[in-house]
């Protein structure tokens, strides 16, 4: 009996964590094939953790407020890019530039976040797809600003930012004088692995903030709204406002996260940096075992490590097996979309299962009675 229940527990554990387990398996298989050294792998992963975790953490707030995996963060990323373009045109470099970009991104993020929040309030229950489409729409406006308004309307002076035709921004804006300034300010090397201590400290502060935030009145309200909007409304919580605040917070934090991300990369791909970031962050979070309605800080860290290990290892492993490096490249894109689909399907099945449970219980109760009689 005891063994049986233990077996059941293991099955349950596997069922509940199928996505992370799948990824652990992929990584375990691919790491030896790829032939990367441990120090190279760890170095890469630590760098990518510093680059990405802040961005992924800001997804947690909308999930808490029941708004699902929210692409609203893409808007924050656009805000950060606008801020960074301006700052680099003003030639304010180094840490002051990074801090100024963060501050400058706040008003942009707030405006975009409020807009997004208001629209999502009209599309309750369909937040994920709606925010995804909003990010496309906003991408159009972003391009309008960056391609046509920067120059004639918003003054841009420097030719290394501007397109040669005289207005609009170049495809790629160089941040060489900001590159990894934050990461290198307090960096420690342990056994050949560079650890960007300051970046991790900032991430730590954000984690602490999220933990603390859950215990505030606003955090409690968000959790209440996230679990049952009608009950929250009956209790007198302003549901709409709370949801907007959660999106605005997420957008502002995403703006900071994007600045951290881009200073690590060292350049802005003006027209594409933001478009993939939402998809990859959500994929990473799902790989960490989060679901549409539940995600923790642990999921973020686990997700980043697994997702990026796969990212680093898969192309090389693919090249080793097939002799074609494109296959690996293909796999990592395929897998990141696949993960999102798979987790969403698993989430739905689980919901269905718990729904049909009531029926099974009824049938069982009837059977029990029959046996008694």
């Amino acid at each position: 009996m005891k063994n049986e229940s233990f077996g059941k527990k293991i099955l349950n554990f596997i069922g509940n964590n199928s996505v992370p387990i799948l990824f652990v398996l992929i990584c375990v298989i691919c790491i030896p094939i790829s032939g990367f050294s441990a120090s190279y792998l760890i170095n890469e992963i630590v760098t990518r953790m510093g680059r990405n975790i802040f961005l992924i953490l800001c997804l947690l707030i909308p999930i808490m407020a029941g708004m699902g995996l929210n692409f609203g963060m893409t808007l924050g990323a656009m805000a950060a890019e606008l801020a960074l373009i301006l700052v680099s045109d003003w030639q304010i470099w180094g840490i002051p530039g990074i801090v100024l970009a963060m501050i400058l991104s706040i008003p942009f993020s707030i405006v975009l976040g409020t807009f997004c929040g208001k629209i999502l309030n009209m599309a309750k229950g369909r937040e994920m797809i709606t925010s995804y489409i909003i990010s496309f729409f906003m991408n159009g406006i972003y391009q309008l600003i960056v391609l046509y308004m920067m120059g004639p309307i918003i003054p841009i002076k420097h030719s290394n930012v501007k397109l040669p035709r005289g207005y609009g921004i170049r495809n790629s804006v160089d941040l060489i004088h900001m590159r990894q300034y934050l990461d290198n300010l307090i960096a420690v090397r342990i056994g050949g692995v560079k650890i960007p201590v300051l970046t991790f400290l900032i991430i730590g502060v954000l984690c602490l903030f999220i933990i603390w935030f859950r215990k505030t009145k606003l955090g409690q309200d968000m959790r209440a709204v996230g679990q049952d909007m009608n009950v929250a409304r009956d209790a007198g919580i302003n549901v709409e406002r709370t949801r907007i605040i959660s999106i605005v917070m997420s957008t502002v934090l995403a703006g900071f996260g994007m600045v951290i991300y881009l200073q690590n990369m060292g350049n802005i791909a003006t027209y594409s940096s933001h478009s993939q970031i939402g998809m990859f962050c959500i994929a990473a979070l799902l790989v960490g075992g989060a679901s549409v309605d539940r995600a923790s800080i642990g999921n973020v860290f686990l997700g980043v490590i697994l997702f990026h290990t796969m990212f680093i290892v898969a192309p090389k492993a693919g090249a080793m097996i097939t002799g074609d490096s494109m296959i690996g490249e293909y796999f990592r894109v395929f897998i990141s979309y696949g993960v999102i689909t798979l987790s969403l399907i698993l989430y739905e099945t689980k919901k269905r299962k718990s729904k049909s449970l009531v029926g099974q219980q009824l049938a069982q109760a009837q059977k029990d009675e029959e046996e008694k009689a």
Binding site: W212, K215, T216, K217, Q227, A235, G236, G359, L362, Q366
Partner: protein
Amino acid sequence: MQTNSPPLLEMRNIKKDFFGNQVLTDINLTLHEGEVLGLCGENGAGKSTLMKILFGMDVIRETGGYEGEILLDGKPVSFSTPFEALEAGIGMVHQEFSLIPGFTAAENIVLNREPKKRNIFSEVFGERLDTLDYNEITGRAEAAIDKMGFHIEKNMRISDMPVGHKQFTEIARELSKENLKLLILDEPTAVLTEKEAEALLRSIRSMSEKGIAVIFITHRLHEILSVCDKVVVMRDGFVVSDVPAAETTVNEISKWMVGRNVSSADSRDIRDTSGSRTILSIRRLWVDMPGETVRDVSLDVREGEILGIGGLAGQGKLGIPNGIMGLYEAGGTVELDGKPIPLNAPRKCLDASLAFVSEDRRGVGLLLDETLEWNIAFPAMQVQNKFLRSYLGGLVKWRDEKGIREVTERYIDELAIKCTGSKQKARELSGGNQQKICLAKAFALEPKFLFVSEPTRGIDIGAKALVLNALKKFNRESGVTVVMISSELEELRQICDRIAIVSGGKIAGIRPASDPSEEFGMLMVSMVK
């Protein structure tokens, strides 16, 4: 009773209609401090509407408000939102739980009234960033649970709780409000086990000793007698009796509830169908329809009869047809004419010549934005290929527009449907006429067997009579077996041959419709869960 102090609550001549449909007429109620009032009545008697008025629910204001006066502590009040009612010291525990599933009992008890502590961030960004004071939260929750007198685990999450404890959490939440003077409990024992129900009654008594007045709505009449100071019985929007609980009995109350109007009994022609063969046999049916759970129902329907299924709201009568027709998950066996009908497959039921007129006529019954022609002909077209003309050896099928118009016009005529023509949109018709369209739709299928669920819900008396007559005529002339589900016993007694009463998800008994209404009343409350 403290008759010399001014009453805590007085409702004077309360009237309410929903778009001309009178649901409350001249309701008068008084309630003193610490008094427990038992409110009972059949479904649709007006209890919930009355409580909604008292509690200032939005739906009342949206449908044109109410007439009459409400006095609280001798002062006239009119609440336009539930929050104003809460402010004034009225608490209400609804039938549906209003709890956050992932929160603990304590967190739910203080929901949106959490004690808070200031901090640096909240000084800057406003009080919503105050941190919660968890010690104080547990303290308040404990105090409320003590006041209630039934122990629930304050740190347990709602989703892990048995259903009865959820109910107690709701009550504790109302009790934690300091200015609570009047507590409305809407069928609180419906989800409780016997032991929990007893505990609830004890806690109602202790609340009353502390000076809190309670309005207790329940279908379990013995509970009313054991805990209430007085009993108010409502029927069809009237208060039919208002007596001290000590002076009445369960029998008397159930008589009042279902009405004693037997005058119409003579005009009925009830047939004895005991000789007919069984056409539909239901064995061990369970249905998972939220709020209308069916447990272990076995029932035989005889060919050519009209069988009524009655019972109080939430007891499972609606679950029976919805389960058989495959709209909700069900199990058990159902045989029509000796042939088994697969459950959870609506199409199979329709193919077997079963038809169903749903109680949810706007949601399930009608294509609201389509013409009457379409509404009436659509199922017949889909299921039986009627009104279709085949060309090229069946490769192409076109609608037979003429045939559709003819049949629609025939039904518009026969059922006296008020409309501008067969091309009008279903949405534009009144409730009663929409119901007739639903019937016409089912009739057009020419079924062997017809389920009709709540055919007269929300329609006026004139339309009611027409709908019932149409059903009866359909049964008598085409020999179709009809099972009609209704919460109104009187209308079942008017047209049915036999009536089955559902209580607690099971068949409590089947009687000829000629039996006195008290008998049915007793069956209704017999197994209430």
